[in-house]
Symmetry: C2
Subunit: 139 residues, 2 copies
Amino acid sequence: MPFFYDADVEWKGERRGELRSPNLPALGVAAPPEFQGHEGIWTPEHLYVASVNACFMTTFLAIAHNSKLEIVSFSAKARGKLEKVEGIGYQMTEIILRPRLVIRASRDLERARRILEKAEKNCLISNSVKSAIKVEPEL
Amino acid sequence: MPFFYDADVEWKGERRGELRSPNLPALGVAAPPEFQGHEGIWTPEHLYVASVNACFMTTFLAIAHNSKLEIVSFSAKARGKLEKVEGIGYQMTEIILRPRLVIRASRDLERARRILEKAEKNCLISNSVKSAIKVEPEL
């Protein structure tokens, strides 16, 4: 501790670039179409939502593992809301996470629900963003 | 307005998943090795830093375009610092952006510097994160 994470970007013309980090596959990135960007490429907005959602998943998996919760399947939809805020400008004000979890044993239902809540609270990316994060689970 | 951005994740075993969004290429994601994860896959931590850095680039490109600044090349290194914060837990406390910019005309040097500063202030992802963002430009 601390840990450091690198993500470098290189401009590739128009509103496009390429993201690189040691040992990671290169990733195209662009402004979204509504900001004079491009279709079909990951955008900063999508990466932001992806970061929160992926952290929610990995944190959930870690707590579930420690709690010996048997998971059959897990997926989560995430939607970020971008709007203009007085005095700040554009901001991602809200992210709604909709995890869909199937567990082995129905007796673990309440415990699973608590672990999902705990995952959101313990996620280091949730801790690092200003967006309000709402979790609407389906078990 | 508002705009919405989706990024869904599906668990693929161990500490790995796949990110998907309509019209975007699928992207593997995992916890980093230091959190019982995997090597060589994008992590939530890297995506977070990538999101800030890519937003900085696209915002810079937009302002430079509006200001008619002629850019020869642009790249930016970014490094996020993850540490434990009293009362919060793990948090990305700081991101250092190191843009490297080559412009056509040396008379635009000061203007270019101001546009870089403005880009950080106007970046909607910078507006949405708690991490302190430092810009150390090289022109």
